[in-house]
Subunit: 245 residues, 2 copies
């Protein structure tokens, strides 16, 4: 029997307007769609006549195993990832699962608009110079490593995009990050907070290091901390590309 | 007279399959399309019946001024950016140009798939953990700043995505970067080089720090240097998300 293919598909922020034709085509092509329920709900208009395998949060390994099982049975499978599957998404775990299964399954990664890019576009142009992308979730990476990276990124005057900045149970990480960055940048350094980018209940906030903790920051947020040259004008957060024009 | 709007539109790597519906809609909506000739050629199928303002490389300021002039005359303008306009693209300069012109023009940024994301998808999953994005072009940022950032990113065990890594005239920067990173990572650290991602003449190379300079690296390339945990298996470059599964 021939195996099916696995497409790890990035759906971007969730709105149809930012789903690429390549992602659309991959989903349409597949018989089975596997994913976190919240993401599948965002693309439910594409899912009629499909075998749907929806799971709850933190079931990443299970989803990859399910995708692999269906592919081994000959089905083409779309494994759905929010944003870009290659950035804190499902691409790596899917490839690792196939590798550990020792099976010759064809896996293709279909990139999507990741949260930092979507958030940046809503804020103005905060990522126009060198930047670091750091996840504050210490489920997967030891906190000392994360803290060290924040410190080095701050020292290097990188713009810093923070994924998974806080949850209802987890707030001290973003407080610590702010404290570290304040050792290298002034309190008026612009900070952008985008929640639910390009989704219902989207909020876009431009604040600064001093004030940032007064605003709601949760798992659906991306926080972008400007570098020493970032400024705010006319409601836009702008990092100059380099030398001023 | 009413002013027109300016849309700074990211077309992604250049292939139609990775152009978002939002980008397509913005281009279709506008009367005037301004951009670097090479990017306009990639979307020529969208440009009939438009006023086209094409310019050569390095005319970024001119393009922004032209876009502003047309908007002031009441035309809706699409300013085209390769990849994502917010990442080494046209978003910042356009906002700065409007701000300095002191005019009340509505500017919207339409994000796109940036080169690092497109390249990562072709390589496997190299950006699955924290990463730094650095441009090696010292036209806009002093080389000492760039070098310092490379050093700090290497020290922090960030995966490093390098934009504008080299040109025909400019090769010593990538050699210097390799030399710096080699002080923190072993010679067998995986390196991915993607040229012309999702375009004609695309090449995808997986090599390592030791060997990387044997391959062609130019302005159409993105180089992704793995972190200490990145590995290569079955032709994929994979950075584990964190703790091993």
């Amino acid at each position: 029997m021939n195996y099916g293919d696995i497409y790890v598909v990035g759906i971007g922020p969730g709105d149809e307007s930012q789903l690429t034709p390549a992602a659309l085509k991959a989903i349409e092509y597949c018989d089975v769609v596997v994913g976190y329920k919240t993401y599948l709900d965002l693309i439910d208009y594409l899912l009629c006549d499909k075998t749907i395998v929806a799971s709850s949060m933190r079931k990443e390994r299970e989803r990859c195993s399910q995708a692999l099982e269906y592919a081994l049975e000959g089905e083409n499978v779309a494994l759905i990832s929010g944003g870009d599957p290659g950035i804190y998404g499902m691409a790596g775990l899917m490839l690792e699962t196939v590798e550990q299964g020792g099976c010759d399954i064809n896996v293709r990664i279909v990139p999507g608009i990741t949260a930092a890019n979507a958030a940046a576009a809503l804020l103005g142009a905060p990522l126009m110079n060198d930047f670091a992308v750091i996840s504050l979730s210490d489920l997967m990476t030891p906190w000392e490593t994360i803290e060290r990276r924040v410190r080095l990124a701050a020292e290097g005057d990188f713009v810093i995009a923070l994924y998974n900045p806080a949850s209802t149970k987890r707030r001290w990480q973003i407080e610590t990050v702010r404290h570290i960055v304040m050792q290298y940048r002034t309190g008026d350094t612009p900070v952008g907070i985008v929640r639910n980018a390009v989704r219902q209940e989207q909020t876009v906030t431009i604040t600064n290091l001093e004030e940032m903790l007064k605003y709601s920051i949760d798992m659906a947020s991306v926080v972008i901390v400007g570098n020493s040259a970032t400024y705010v004008r006319n409601g836009y957060m702008i990092t100059p590309r380099g030398y001023h024009i």
